[in-house]
Symmetry: C2
Subunit: 211 residues, 2 copies
């Protein structure tokens, strides 16, 4: 049975992005500090075609969360900063060869033709809600898993709707003080802690979401 | 150099107590779920004179946080539910032999004579603020450490004032949805993750507070 998984970095005070998100600072003020632990990892550099970085416990986590994924779902704000009707020249933040290598279903209110990229990533645009997007993602993923890629608001919607099986948090020793909370208005899901991976500058904790 | 330490349980959504705290439910609705991991530990039962419970990774954490402590500071709401002038018959939640075994400095706006208990615990009442309480606690602790015992509002005050050296969080896989937030309005302390202890139903993470 394939799973619906999510992994996301969160500040110790519960924010998945800092305040004042903008086109220039899509993660908000201080938000990039949530991802610093990743930028030292060998796996992350390898994905960007570089032979550098240190192999540490976070590498195994980065590999594990990418392993066995057949499709992604993401919110429009994760795909790009634009609002309203599409600027068709925008093809995501990730360059010609995005790190997904599978279909990616982007939640939006505005229709758009699929955008095929190099390396197996195709962006599909879904205008009829999270359940429809998940249904398509599950179909193309087959017996592989589906990842809800973010951002925070999309993750909250999936949690609140009871559509998530696993939540893997990268808990970062940073206090942002304000921004976008990850675990607010998500109903009352029961969580079971199933894995803890201590790593430099971050604690990775995987939770099973019980139905 | 003795340290000012704090260890406290927190829900995954950042609350140290649930909503609707009352005399009957001092931890608020659902707040007792933050402490369930402790109630199975051998160390906790031993402190309450019982030979039961399982020895697991949490036992070592419970022992470590109690080790080398020369004094405690706590907020009035942790000492008791009462407000305003003292009801002198109230001597804390912990019975005749409280688990502190050192002086405990209780922050209050209302003067009261010290209350000696069995087993080495004496409650002192401090009316001139957290710095005065800490100064007294440091004095009696000598080269041992001082623990800021709670509740959340007292911990926040110590963090905001830059008076804490170590924050040891017991991160519990529970979403309370509302209640008293631990890490709100605490200024912008820098935290360094220095220890992670995975345990059944809880992740213990110790942070150094950098000045």
């Amino acid at each position: 049975m394939s799973l619906v998984r999510c992994h996301i970095a969160v500040s110790l005070d519960g924010f998945a992005a800092g305040p004042d998100q903008s086109e220039e600072h899509p993660l908000g003020r201080g938000g990039e500090r949530l991802h610093e632990w990743m930028f030292t990892s060998r796996t992350w550099h390898a994905q960007h075609g570089r032979d550098e970085g240190e192999r540490d416990a976070s590498d195994e986590v980065v590999e594990a969360v990418q392993n066995g994924i057949g499709a992604y779902v993401m919110g429009r704000n994760m795909f790009g900063w634009g609002r309203g009707a599409w600027d068709e020249s925008w093809r995501g933040w990730w360059g010609d060869d995005p790190p997904f290598h599978t279909p990616v279903f982007v939640l939006t209110h505005h229709e758009r033709e699929p955008v095929p990229m190099r390396g197996g990533t195709t962006f599909f645009f879904v205008t009829d809600g999270i359940e429809a997007a998940l249904s398509k993602a599950r179909y193309v993923a087959g017996d592989k898993d589906v990842t809800v890629a973010g951002g925070a608001s999309t993750v909250r919607q999936f949690l609140a709707a009871g559509l998530l099986d696993e939540l893997y948090l990268h808990i970062v020793p940073v206090l942002l003080g304000a921004g976008e909370r990850l675990l607010e208005d998500v109903g009352e899901p029961s969580l079971e802690q199933i894995e803890v991976v201590p790593a430099p500058g971050v604690t990775h904790v995987k939770y099973r979401v019980l139905r």
